[in-house]
Symmetry: C2
Subunit: 318 residues, 2 copies
C-alpha cells in the first residue's frame, strides 16, 4: 500500500463499518477570541476518543489471515495503545501492549478493559521489548505513525473534512510523529483543493519545525509538555517527506496557551478536548498564527482522553 489519495479512499470504505464519522461543527463562541470563523472536527468523539482508531483499525483489517492468527503487539500507554487494543478486540485478534512501568494504573486499566495483554517494562526499553515480542511470537508490530497503513487510515479524517465542509480556508492539525498530518495532507492536497494546512506542535518539542528548517529529520531533546500525546522526538521516516512536500507551515505552541485553550474549548464551546487536541486553537492564542477575520479555520480536535481530575488541576493551575 502506498500513501496516496486512492489508498485513503479505499481505506475509507474499508473502515467505514468500524469508525464514527465524527461531527464537523461550526462553533461561534470562539470567533471573537480567535479572530476567525471557527470550525471543529471532533475526533475526540471517535471510537476510543481519538483519531488513532482510524489507523489502527485500517492496519488491523489489512492483516493476512496468518498475521491475524499470530496476534499483534504495540508499545503505547496512550491513545494509540487504546486504539490498537480496541481494534484488535473488534476483530478477535490477540493483542499485547507494552507500557512503561511508570504508566498510571488508570491508563493500564483502560487498555486491559479492551482485553489486551499488558506487559510492563522500563520506559527506555519499551520499543526494544515490543520488537523482541514480535520476533519471538510472530506478532505484527503496530508502529504508532511510521507505517503506511496507519498513515492512510488517519488520512480518512481529511476526506471527511472535505465532504463535510469543502469551503474551508485553513486546517490546523496537532502534530507529533506526523501520522495524522501526513495522512490529512495527502487526502486534502491530492484532492486539488487550495486549503491551507498547518501543523501545530509543542514549543518544548519542535521536532518538525527544526526538521523543516534543517531539511532533514532532526531528533529534539525529550522535554515535558502538557500536550502529552505529542511527545515524539523525531518526525517519522515516511511522514517527513510528505510534510515537507505539502504542509503550508508548522506552528510552535507554548503550554500556557494549550492549557488556556482546553479551558476555552470547554467553557465557551462546551467541548472537552485533551491538551494535545486543543493545540490548534492554542496556536492562535499564542500568536503563532494570525488568521483573517473572515478566514474559515478548522481545528482538528484529535483526542478527548482527559479525566475530571486532570481537568480540575488544569483549571486550578491557570
Amino acid at each position: 500500500m502506498k500513501i496516496t489519495l486512492a489508498a485513503i479512499k479505499e481505506a475509507q470504505s474499508k473502515i467505514a463499518p468500524y469508525i464514527i464519522k465524527t461531527p464537523l461543527i461550526r462553533t461561534y463562541a470562539l470567533d471573537e477570541i480567535l479572530g476567525c470563523e471557527v470550525y471543529l472536527k471532533l475526533e475526540n468523539m471517535q471510537v476510543t476518543h481519538s483519531f488513532k482508531y482510524r489507523g489502527a483499525i485500517n492496519k488491523m483489517l489489512n492483516l493476512t489471515l496468518k498475521e491475524k492468527q499470530n496476534g499483534i503487539v504495540t508499545a503505547s500507554s496512550g491513545n494509540h495503545g487504546k486504539a490498537v487494543a480496541h481494534a484488535a478486540k473488534q476483530l478477535g485478534i490477540e493483542a499485547t501492549v507494552v507500557v512503561p512501568n511508570t504508566a498510571s494504573p488508570f491508563k493500564i486499566a483502560a487498555i486491559e478493559q479492551y482485553g489486551a495483554t499488558v506487559v510492563e517494562c522500563d520506559v527506555t526499553e519499551r520499543f526494544a521489548v515490543s520488537e523482541r515480542l514480535a520476533e519471538v511470537h510472530g506478532y505484527t508490530l503496530f508502529h504508532p505513525y511510521d507505517d503506511e497503513e496507519i498513515i492512510v487510515g488517519q488520512g480518512t479524517v481529511g476526506l471527511e473534512i472535505l465532504s463535510q465542509h469543502p469551503a474551508l480556508d485553513t486546517v490546523i492539525v496537532p502534530t507529533s510523529g506526523g501520522g495524522l498530518l501526513a495522512g490529512l495532507l495527502t487526502a486534502i492536497k491530492q484532492s486539488n483543493t487550495d486549503i491551507r494546512i498547518l501543523g501545530a506542535e509543542p514549543y518544548n518539542m519542535p521536532r518538525y519545525s527544526e526538521s523543516l528548517t534543517q531539511k532533514k529529520r532532526v531528533k529534539v531533546e525529550s522535554r515535558n509538555t502538557i500536550a502529552d500525546a505529542l511527545v515524539t522526538a523525531q518526525p517519522g521516516k515516511l511522514n517527513f517527506p510528505i510534510v515537507q512536500t505539502y504542509a503550508d507551515g508548522m506552528l510552535k505552541v507554548a503550554d500556557d496557551a494549550t492549557i488556556k485553550a482546553v479551558e476555552l474549548m470547554l467553557i465557551e464551546s462546551k467541548i472537552l478536548s485533551e491538551p494535545s487536541g486543543a493545540i490548534g486553537p492554542a496556536a492562535i492564542l499564542d500568536g503563532a498564527y494570525s488568521p483573517a477575520l473572515v478566514e474559515k479555520v478548522c481545528f482538528v480536535i484529535s483526542g478527548g482522553n482527559i479525566g475530571l481530575e486532570q481537568l480540575s488541576k488544569l483549571g486550578a493551575a491557570h
Copy 2:
C-alpha cells in the same frame, strides 16, 4: 401573537440573524449505556449558552418602538436573565435584571457584563420588585416562560430539530415552567409528525407530573435540586394546556442520575452540559423511560452554564 406553528415559523425567520442554529449530532458513545440511538440537540452552544436566548430575542424584536425606548425588566439570576440582558444589549435596549441578594457574585457579574442594570432584593420579593419597576418606569416585563412570544421563540428549537433530523422517534425535553416544552410541542406536533415528545423534570419538584395527574395546575413545594434551572413551582398558565394536549409523557428524575448524566455526557460524549440540560439522558439512567434498542432518541441539551469549579464538585460528590 398566538402560539401556533405559523407563529413559530415567523419567529424563526425574524430571529435567524441573532441566534445560532445549534448542531444536532449523533453521539455513539452513549448508545450502549442508554440502550438506544443517541442524538443531542446542543442548545448549550446557543448564544448565552442556553435555549433561553431564542425566546428573549424574539420578544425583544417584537417590542414597539415606544416599548424599546422605555426599556425592559426581568427577574432571573440564571439563564433567562443572561439571555434577556444579552438580547437587550444586541438591540440597544435598556435592561434591568432583578436578582435575589443570595445570587453568587459570579452570576451577577455575568449579567452585568451584558450591560444590564442589576437590582438586588430578597429572594421572595423578586417578582414583586420587577413588577413595581415595570409599573413605575414603564418597563416591559419579560416573564421567563408564561409569555406567548417567549414560548414561540423557544419553539424554534423544534423546527430546527425537524430540519436537521426528521426521522427521530423520540425527543426528551428538560422542563420547568414549560416554555421550551410547550414551544417545541407546538412546532413538532403541528407539523404532523409522529415523533414522541416527553418532558423531564426533577423528582423533587414534579410540578408537571402532579398537574397532569390532577388535570389542573398544581403548585409543588419548592425543594432543592441539582437541576437549578428547573425550579419553577407551578406550570405556566399558557404552557400547561399545550403540554396537556400534546405531550406523550412526563418523566421524574432523581438528582443522583442527573449528576451521573453530566459526568457521562462529558467523559463519554465530550459535551459539557449543566445539570438541568442533562436531565434527559438522566431520565433513562434513572429508569423513568426505557427506549427500544433501535429507537432514535434526541435529547435537548438545554444549557451549558456550569463552571469548572462546580464540575469538580460534581465529580467529587459522585
